[in-house]
Amino acid sequence: LATEQELSDFLKSVERRAFKRSVYHVRDEEAALDIVQDSMMKLAQHYGDKPAAELPMLFQRILSNCTLDWFRRQKTRRALFSNLSDFDSVDDDGDFDLLENFVSPTDSRETESAEDTTRRAQVFHEIEEQIAALPGRQREAFLMRYWEEMDVAETAAAMGCSEGSVKTHCSRAVHALSKALKAKGISL
């Protein structure tokens, strides 16, 4: 059983990322806040008596479901299909070379100038844009796997799909992001 403090600490540790993740999905801060609030409430109301160790997986699952519910509540066909119908989308990453857009992992943050800082902010916003532009399942898999640092099995459980699907979604997401950022002249 998670104590009140453990539940509060857990929610505090995930709320910001959950909010941003929702923003990337629904592109609307108000809607994202509602989704996160609903997710927090559902976790507390339905699983508040679960051990603290079970909360992360439960919350990820609830957050995903609340996001899907939000899309389902949208009345326009366009909103639905532009964000969710890509479960089976075919991505053509044919001419992509991942390593072309992947430079040395060594970083030189200590020498960063104001110009570098500005550039870093621009890169950040471009990354956000490209993540938001990913097909829904790819975005979800990418954010869970790499941003939330969940492993493949955890991501698959949270997304309700197979591990193979998670790997495929992640791979396509990485390739799409790399290709898009490369086109913008951005190397990481």
Partner: protein, 85 residues
């Protein structure tokens, strides 16, 4: 159509994904104050509405279960509270 992704590229993909995620984390360290505040309120409401085992529900109200049971549980609570706009 499902395209089989070569396993040999997985490590490079993971590395690239992790670097992208690190950039994302670095840029997301600060949220606007009002967003942070609304998340804090949502968290407090959720914690206040959390599900407890019956014995803890009554204990948290300062006593054992009375002859009519833990009636306060049915009294609603913060679950219905929405964002104040």
């Amino acid at each position: 159509m499902n395209t089989k992704v070569p396993t040999s590229s997985t490590a490079a993909e993971d590395q690239f994904g992790q670097r992208l995620a690190a950039r994302l984390s670095a840029g997301n360290r600060e949220l606007p104050h009002d967003i942070g505040e609304r998340l804090r309120v949502a968290r407090a409401q959720a914690v206040a509405a959390r599900k407890l085992p019956p014995q803890l529900r009554t204990a948290s109200r300062g006593g054992a279960v009375g002859p009519h049971g833990p009636r306060w549980v049915a009294a609603g609570g913060p679950a219905s509270v929405r964002w104040c706009r």
